[in-house]
């Protein structure tokens, strides 16, 4: 009994969270850094006439020790040796399973939609100098949102990890490009549904052999199929133009009106002054409407038996089969519908660029789209939007950070570090929000009261 009491007194006397303990720990860390850095930082040998000369750099060593001391002390005070670590507070506020979040998400969705609706005019009014650059960026982000929503059907709802989604993007782009350049009478609006159908068709063809596989094997084979499509495009010179790609893809027309200067153009017809920005605004609204269609169809499908079957498939495939669901067909429809939206986005990409080549459809594209879906939260539509803005917009933002070169010298280009920043952001999100930014699931049918389902309940499907 006495021993137990003694121990209790001892632990009470030495509070592990005291300032004294923190200081002691930080000092220890600094000394350790000093000992380790003695030969790396403190002493340096230089080539001198007649051999090597030893040069000491105590200032550097002391600076390093001071940095370690300060860093360790701060970590101790706010993270390691405190009852309320800052990290927990951050992750707690981000977890947001409280009742405030659903309404927040609702308002956020409405707000983003409203802003997206007037976005070109917003930039034309407030940033007339950079309007073209910003609207172009908005088009790019919107394309990725659409791709993210398309992939979300396959990965988020049906739970099939698809690493080769870019293949369908490529099929859509090449379908449109080849149709439009080979047949005079096919314009953007006639080719768009054809490109989507062709992509869906390829989704089914690739799906048939692939969907017998499960988990990691499925991921690897879809990755391989993505590469096969790209390599075929690269090597089938007679048909696809190989590495030269296809150029001269027609621009979309507004009910037959081209966005060109002079007689018969869009500006001439409506009697307004010609401005090259019109075409960008028009392109923006095309991708905006395509993306919104993707979203509406996905939300509708979720409430239909097929969408429910996708989610059930993600939860438990064996139970699905015991309930009479043909899992092969269900997976194929998910693959085909996801591929179709990828194809739409691909043909938009082709008409926007006017030139496509296999270089635009590398694995990195698949990885970025998948990262958008995973970071946003599997199955979450608003999460995809946020992740697209952060990831695609974030990269572009790096180009405009001029002040960093004043600190790091004139040779510093922040875009060179974008992959590093990417990786860091992903690690941070995966540590704090392992299920993505918006990870709660909304039920597809409600009897009395709609309740959000926490991320820990929802299965992630194959290969996660």
């Amino acid at each position: 009994m006495a021993a137990v009491n003694n121990a209790a007194v001892n632990t009470a006397a030495v509070d592990p969270n005291s300032l004294q303990a923190s200081l002691k720990d930080a000092l220890l860390a600094a000394l350790l850094a000093g000992a380790l850095g003695l030969f790396f930082l403190g002493i340096r040998t230089d080539i001198a006439p007649g051999g090597l000369a030893v040069r000491t750099r105590w200032g550097l060593l002391l600076t390093a020790m001071a940095i370690v001391f300060a860093g360790r002390l701060l970590l101790n005070l706010f993270v390691f040796k405190t009852k309320r670590p800052v990290t927990r507070a951050i992750s707690g506020s981000m977890a947001g399973t409280g009742s405030a979040l659903p309404t927040l998400g609702w308002w956020m969705g409405r707000g983003l939609f409203g802003f997206a609706l007037v976005l070109p005019f917003f930039f034309m009014t407030f940033f007339p100098g950079q309007q073209r650059q910003y609207i172009d960026l908005a088009i790019l982000i919107m394309t990725y949102i659409m791709l993210g929503w398309g992939l979300n059907i396959v990965v988020g709802l049906a739970g099939l990890l698809d690493l080769g989604y870019v293949a369908f993007y490529a099929v859509g782009a090449y379908s449109f490009a080849l149709l439009a350049t080979n047949f005079e009478f096919i314009g953007f609006w006639t080719a768009l549904p054809l490109a989507g159908l062709l992509a869906a068709f390829w989704g089914m063809i690739l799906g048939f052999p692939v969907l017998r596989l499960r988990g990691d094997y499925l991921a690897i084979v879809t990755l391989a199929f993505g590469e096969i499509i790209r390599v075929v495009l690269l090597n089938w010179y007679d048909f696809t133009g190989g590495p030269n790609g296809i150029s001269g893809i027609p621009k979309p027309t507004f009910f037959g009106l081209e966005f060109s200067r002079g007689e018969g153009g869009f500006a001439d017809f409506f009697g307004i002054e010609f401005n090259s920005i019109h075409r960008f605004v028009y392109l923006y609204y095309i991708i905006f409407i395509l993306a919104i269609i993707t979203n509406i169809v996905t939300m509708r499908l979720r409430r239909l038996p097929i969408g429910r079957a996708w989610e059930a498939l993600r939860e438990d495939e064996i139970a699905c089969r015991s309930l009479g669901i043909n899992t092969t067909n269900t997976k194929l429809t998910a693959f085909a519908i996801g591929a179709m939206f990828g194809g739409f986005a691909g043909s938009f990409f082709a008409t926007r660029q006017g030139f496509i080549s296999p270089e635009s459809f590398t694995f990195l594209e698949s990885a970025i789209i998948l990262a958008i879906v995973v970071l946003g939260g599997l199955g979450s539509q608003i999460g995809v939007v946020i992740a697209s803005i952060v990831m695609i917009g974030g990269i572009e933002l790096l180009r405009n950070i001029g002040f960093l070169s004043q600190i790091f010298g004139p040779g510093f280009d922040p875009t060179q570090y974008r992959m590093l920043i990417f990786g860091l952001a992903m690690v941070l999100i995966m540590v704090w929000k392992p299920r993505g930014l918006v990870s709660t699931r909304e039920p597809s049918a409600v009897l009395k009261e709609k309740k959000k389902i926490g991320a820990d309940m929802v299965a992630q499907g194959e290969g996660h």
Binding site: D316, I318, G324, P443, M457
Partner: protein, 343 residues
């Protein structure tokens, strides 16, 4: 041991499950490589009856289930499911000699389950099942779980999704009907209050009942339950008994269940089939099976002759089956046990 399949008393009369079987399993053999999990097993499941499949661990009960529900393809044998009354022997033999999977008959239809993939067995042959380790859609609500079970009728109503996307009124009506059916079953299993909660949030006993409700939403003719009472407390297993009686009485669904809880088995089953090492060792009504010495021997892992000589074995038998049954089976009740019983 094989000779003891039917006790002499039963040999003369024909049982109800032989006259009007909903499912017949004939010469079923399942081999996994060199391992024979089921060897030449034949038994019938009577229409509108509760049939129990019992046996020690590893006897092959779940393998039989997996063969019946199409999760395994049997190595040999015929598994015939019948909709409509009677044996329908004519149609069964017609389907067997054709390459068809099933065929309508004057009485209803005959399905050869060993030829059908798992999802068709549930969809067409109307055999539903539950799992030993519960397989609910944990991230979906209780209501959604029951709606997924009505996938096939809803798919037809939604015009294979096209009509549903356009929001046709026919689909809305069908969806409302499916919700009504889900509500009906939720009331029967007393989970209506938790309809909008995720299934993974339910306590274990509720999950078991929900899985049965989900299986019933497919409107099965035969319901296969794999250890439905496992992990339930006495009150819950009593409720389970009532639920199964209700399903049989009100919906005419035949039930085939695997169960270790002898209390449940003896109370509700009309017919018991006992397996050991993949072979049927006993088949009959509860009273007959209870007193079958080969069943007792199989459960205790001893030969018949050893039983009488080992008092500790005898006392286990008495505990498992009750004194009356043990006496009937010719086991001498140890004196210590008798004294204990008087207290």
């Amino acid at each position: 041991m094989a000779a003891a399949v039917q006790t002499p008393a039963d040999a003369g009369e024909t049982k109800s499950w032989d006259l009007d079987p909903v499912l017949t399993v004939e010469h079923l053999t399942m081999r996994f490589g060199g391992l024979v999990a089921i060897n030449d097993l034949s038994f019938n499941v009577g229409r509108g009856e509760i049939t129990a499949l019992i046996g020690p661990n590893g006897a092959g009960k779940t393998t039989v289930f997996n063969c019946v529900t199409g999760f395994y393809k049997p190595t040999e044998g015929r598994i015939a499911m019948r909709h409509g009354l009677g044996q329908q022997a004519q149609t069964v033999s017609e389907v067997t000699h054709s390459s068809l999977k099933w065929k309508p008959s004057p009485e209803g239809a005959v399905f050869l389950l060993e030829r059908m993939p798992d999802f068709e067995i549930s969809h067409h042959a109307k055999v539903a099942r539950t799992f030993q380790n519960i397989r609910l859609f944990g991230g979906m609500t209780v209501l959604e779980n029951l709606l997924v079970a009505q996938h096939n009728p809803l798919m037809r109503a939604s015009g294979f999704t096209l009509g549903g996307i356009l929001g046709l009124p026919g689909f809305r009506k069908a969806e409302q009907a499916s919700i009504d059916k889900a509500v009906y079953w939720l009331e029967q299993v007393r989970l209506i209050e938790r309809a909008d909660d995720p299934a993974a949030d339910l306590p274990y006993g509720d999950q078991r009942r929900l899985e049965i409700a989900r299986a019933m939403c497919t409107e099965p003719h035969l319901l296969c339950l794999d250890e439905p009472a496992a992990g339930l407390n006495p009150r819950e297993s009593h409720e389970l008994n009532e639920l199964l009686q209700f399903i049989r009485r009100e919906h005419g669904t035949s039930v085939l269940l695997i169960e270790h809880d002898m209390g449940v088995v003896m109370e509700i089953s009309d017919h018991i089939v006992v397996l050991d090492y993949g072979v049927k060792i006993s088949d009959g009504d509860p009273a007959a099976v209870k007193t079958d010495p080969s069943v007792i021997a199989a459960y205790l892992g001893v030969e018949d002759e050893d039983l009488a000589e080992k008092p500790e074995v005898a006392s286990i038998v008495v505990e498992a089956l009750g004194e009356e049954a043990a006496e009937e089976a010719g086991i001498e009740i140890p004196p210590a046990r008798k004294n204990g019983g008087d207290k």
